[in-house]
Structure formats: structure tokens, C-alpha cells
């Protein structure tokens, strides 16, 4: 079970500034269990967005959005609606958000923060994609996580050690920031990387603060 919390509506709306048509992706796995991205929450989000004057082009609920292949398959039925949208709002964990970003060349907005993997990893098992930092930055990095994929976890990358797409730490490690820049270039949103990002709140991350969900029963 991956524990998620929905981002404040204010933050979500700031992501959608200037966009009109949004496609909502929910997840019937952990996010439904956490009541952050199941059917009910997706419909709730649709209502809230429409009240704010946005057009919701459609909703797709994936059984496990973290399963990249399944997500790709589920999206086929919604292809025209997705193509017609300015962006996708994804209500699930950081892994699911990245799975969505990897199957569509569209702007993908995270609707949730991933606060804990809760003892079990997601379905997309080929490597580390979420570090439970609790303050999801995928909005800003085009759906590829610099916290999980940059050795230095920097927010203004790449550092001077990125050569030929590889991280200086190991020739087997792709530079996360090269991937981010490639993707943002592909979707025409490199302009996201112009402002100075304030220091991150590491207090909400799994390793940066006190246990946020201490075990109650030993």
C-alpha cells in the first residue's frame, strides 16, 4: 500500500493556470484505499475543476496506475480525449504519475503527495521511482522524479558531472536531469526550468523528519 495525500486544491489549480481542458486519471489500487484517487475522488475533482471553469475531458480509472503497461492499455480507449486535453491530472502515487508521464507526451500534473510506501512497493518494479519525499515535484520536472533519479537530489540540475547522458557517479546510471530536460524539450515546456525553486521541505519526507506514521501495535 502506497500512502498518498491529495495536494491542496489551491496548489493543483496553480498547476492548471492557463490551461482549459484537463483529463483526470485515478487509480483503483492504493489511491482508492487512501481515498485520494479512487472513483469518488476523481468525480469529486471533476466537479471542483468544473466549478473553477475548467473543462474535464474525461476520467480514466486504472486498476494500478503504477503498472505502466496496464495504464498504456487503459488509455487506448480514451486516446482522442487525451489528445484533445491540455494536460492530465493524476490522482495517485509518484510511481503512477511517472507511469502516466512515460506513456503520454503531454503535461502531467501530480494531484497527490506520496508520503510513504507503507511497506509495499508499487507494481512498476524495474527500479527506484519514488522516494516518498512527501512533497511531489513531478509537476515541475515533467513527470520524471529528480529526488529518485538524481544522485544529489538537486532541484536545479544537471550538475557539472553530467556527461553524455550519464551521471558522474556511475556509467550505468542515467543522469536524471538529462532525462527531465529531454522530456520537457519534447513536450515544449523547457520554460518550467527558469525560476529559482525554494528549498524543499524535507521534514515531510520519509527519511528527513520524525516518523509521520509511527507503528501503533508492536
Amino acid at each position: 500500500m502506497l500512502i498518498t495525500e491529495q495536494k491542496p486544491m489551491e496548489e493543483i489549480l496553480s498547476y492548471l493556470g492557463g490551461e482549459e481542458k484537463v483529463f483526470i486519471v485515478g487509480c483503483k489500487g492504493c489511491a482508492e484505499g487512501c481515498q485520494t484517487g479512487g472513483e469518488q475522488q476523481a468525480i469529486g475533482m471533476e466537479k471542483e475543476l468544473e466549478a473553477e471553469g475548467k473543462t474535464v475531458t474525461g476520467i480514466c480509472l486504472v486498476d494500478f496506475a503504477c503498472n505502466e503497461q496496464l495504464t498504456r492499455m487503459m488509455f487506448e480507449a480514451h486516446e482522442s480525449k487525451i489528445v484533445d486535453s491540455d494536460s492530465l491530472l493524476v490522482l495517485c502515487c509518484g510511481i503512477g504519475i511517472q507511469a502516466v508521464a512515460s506513456v503520454v507526451d503531454k503535461v502531467v500534473h501530480p494531484g497527490c503527495n506520496t508520503v510513504s510506501l507503507g511497506g509495499r512497493h508499487g507494481e512498476w518494479r524495474d527500479g527506484e521511482r519514488c522516494q516518498e519525499c512527501g512533497q511531489c515535484v513531478l509537476e515541475y520536472t515533467g513527470g520524471i522524479c529528480p529526488i529518485a533519479r538524481c544522485a544529489k537530489q538537486i532541484l536545479h540540475g544537471p550538475c557539472g558531472g553530467s556527461v553524455g547522458g550519464k551521471c558522474e557517479v556511475s556509467p550505468d546510471l542515467p543522469c536524471g536531469w538529462q532525462l527531465i530536460i529531454d522530456r520537457l524539450t519534447r513536450i515544449g515546456r523547457l520554460d518550467r526550468l527558469t525560476d529559482v525553486v525554494p528549498p524543499k521541505d524535507w521534514g515531510v519526507s520519509l527519511t528527513g523528519g520524525p516518523p509521520t506514521r509511527p507503528i501503533k501495535r508492536q
Binding site: 544522485a151 544529489k152 538537486i154 536545479h156 550538475c159 557539472g160 558522474e168 529559482v196 525554494p198
Partner: protein, 305 residues
């Protein structure tokens, strides 16, 4: 003037600046840093003190800078975000200013796995751009990151590094623009061997209108052996050494003389680029060559400002 350091005065008076670098010892002895400072002071405008470079434990930069001040050198305190969180960083900055240090160079730092404590926990609470922005906020708004007020002035001349030889090449200037936006005053670059690529990078800086907003000092590493050149080419991340340089050193009868010649040629070409405001000589373990380079490059005497 932001800090009124010698380096700032030289750059602001549009004189071509020369900086060098000193690595502190793996011990608590003071004579090494003091001697290097004495030897280099007439030939430079400021001297950097590295901060546990290549993640190998050495005397801290703050102590090294304080020693350099004793012999009349304007020190540049290098500060990496690898080993300090925002509490330690801001505290060290207050301490540095209290001890009369005004130039701070912001870096992320060589990754801990390269050093002699590869199992250390990396901090990276802030990144280098956020560090720059923190110093600017501390200086201009007299505020800590949290927003609380700092008592008194905090004169700082803020530096950072950039590597024109890292990838993705076209994006690197956008990244430099973010450092400028964050508040950087001067940049010292990674060592230049590939002058053509460096020129291309400088042109992008001009095209982005950044040349008026930040002082660029080009990095120079004098190479004293073919082995060192090969090592840097093959193993030092972020450094590009063209094969031609390696071949020249391999075939030279007097390899040190050839190394000096290569450095002087690079400096000559760099000085023809009007947007470059100085050089930063990183003579790792070959500090005695610095006076020779500065003299033969025609950069003496250093300006009195």
C-alpha cells in the same frame, strides 16, 4: 560594492582578474597554507580554499581562509552542499563574515562515493542554486531562509561554478541564467582545454544577455605530465582534455615546459574573448607554476584597488 573584497574591487574596476586555489592539508598543520598564501599573494587577486574536494577529508575551508587572511590574502571560501544542511550553512556564513571573509563560492560538491568516506550520508538539503539564493537573501534582505531577521550587515560577494564541458551543452547556459537569477556575482568555470567549445559557450552567454550580469573567470589547470593529462581525460568527471593536448605532452622533451606553454596558449586565446573577466588557476600540487604563468601571460603587476 557588495562586500568590498579585493576580488570584487578588481572585477568591478574592469581589470582582468587572477585567482588561484589552495587545498588545505590532511592535518591540522598551518604552515602549508600560510606558505602557499605568501608565495601566491603578489600574483593573484584572491585565492580559493577548497572544501573537502573530491570528498576527501581535509582541514575545513573556513580555517584555511582565516589562515590566508593572516598573510594578507583575500580568500574565497568554497562551500559545498554535500556535507551541510541549511542550519549549518547559514551558521558557517555568519562565522565566515565575522572572520572577515567576503567571497563565497557555492558548489554542490563531488559526490561522496568518490572520496575516502564513500559510505557517508550525503546531505544535499539545498542545491547550489538554492545556496546562491540563500546568500543573496541573507545579504540583501538580511533574512535567514526561514524569514527571521539577521542582526547587522552581511557583506558577501557571491560566486559559483559552471562547467561548459558538461551536458546537455545547450541547456547549460539556461542553468547559468538561473544562477544569475538566484543572485550570483561571479563564476569560475571548470578547466578549459577545449577553447573552441568554451568560445561557443561564451557566445551563448552573450546571446542570452548574461555577460553584463555576471563576471566569468575561465578555469585553467596547468598540466605537468602526460600521465596527469591522460588521467584527467579518462577519469575526472566533467573535465575534457583533447587528445591533441595529451599527444603534445607525450612527445615533449621537457614536459613541464610544454605544460606551461599549453596553459599560456589557452590563456592568450581566452583573453581575446571580451566577455571573460579573468582566469582561475587550479594548479593542484603545482602551485609554484602559478607565478610563472601569471608573469609570462603578462598579467603582472596585479592591480592595487
Amino acid at each position: 560594492m557588495k562586500a568590498g573584497t579585493n576580488l570584487e574591487k578588481v572585477l568591478e574596476s574592469k581589470r582582468f582578474a587572477v585567482t588561484a586555489e589552495v587545498g588545505p592539508p590532511k592535518g591540522a598543520g598551518t604552515s602549508g597554507v600560510l606558505k602557499k598564501g605568501e608565495k601566491l599573494k603578489e600574483f593573484t587577486d584572491a585565492i580559493n580554499v577548497t572544501d573537502n574536494q573530491t570528498a576527501i577529508v581535509r582541514m575545513c575551508s573556513l580555517a584555511g581562509c582565516t589562515l590566508l587572511k593572516r598573510v594578507g590574502v583575500d580568500p574565497v571560501l568554497q562551500m559545498v552542499v554535500r556535507d551541510r544542511n541549511r542550519i549549518a550553512i547559514q551558521s558557517d556564513i555568519l562565522g565566515a563574515v565575522a572572520l572577515g571573509i567576503g567571497n563565497i563560492l557555492c558548489l554542490s560538491g563531488d559526490y561522496q562515493s568518490f572520496g575516502n568516506h564513500p559510505t557517508a550520508k550525503g546531505v544535499y538539503d539545498l542545491d547550489s542554486v538554492q545556496l546562491i539564493n540563500t546568500l543573496k537573501k541573507m545579504r540583501d534582505e538580511r533574512k535567514f531562509i526561514c524569514g527571521e531577521a539577521i542582526a547587522g550587515e552581511l557583506p558577501l560577494f557571491i560566486g559559483a561554478v559552471e562547467n561548459p564541458f558538461a551536458d546537455p551543452f545547450e541547456y547549460r547556459v539556461f542553468r547559468l541564467a538561473r544562477k544569475v537569477k538566484a543572485g550570483v556575482d561571479f563564476i569560475q568555470t571548470q578547466a578549459v582545454f577545449d577553447v573552441a567549445r568554451f568560445e561557443k559557450w561564451m557566445k551563448l552567454i552573450k546571446d542570452h544577455g548574461l555577460e553584463e550580469q555576471v563576471h566569468i573567470l575561465a578555469g585553467i589547470i596547468p598540466v605537468k605530465s602526460a600521465g596527469m593529462a591522460r588521467y584527467m581525460r579518462d577519469y575526472v568527471s566533467g573535465v575534457t582534455v583533447p587528445d591533441e593536448v595529451v599527444t603534445r605532452l607525450e612527445q615533449a622533451t621537457d614536459v613541464k615546459e610544454e605544460g606551461l606553454k599549453i596553459s599560456l596558449e589557452i590563456i592568450e586565446q581566452i583573453m581575446e574573448i571580451p566577455q571573460v573577466h579573468g582566469i582561475h588557476i587550479m594548479a593542484v600540487g603545482w602551485e609554484e607554476i602559478v607565478p610563472v604563468i601569471v608573469e609570462q601571460a603578462g598579467l603582472l603587476p596585479r592591480p592595487e584597488v
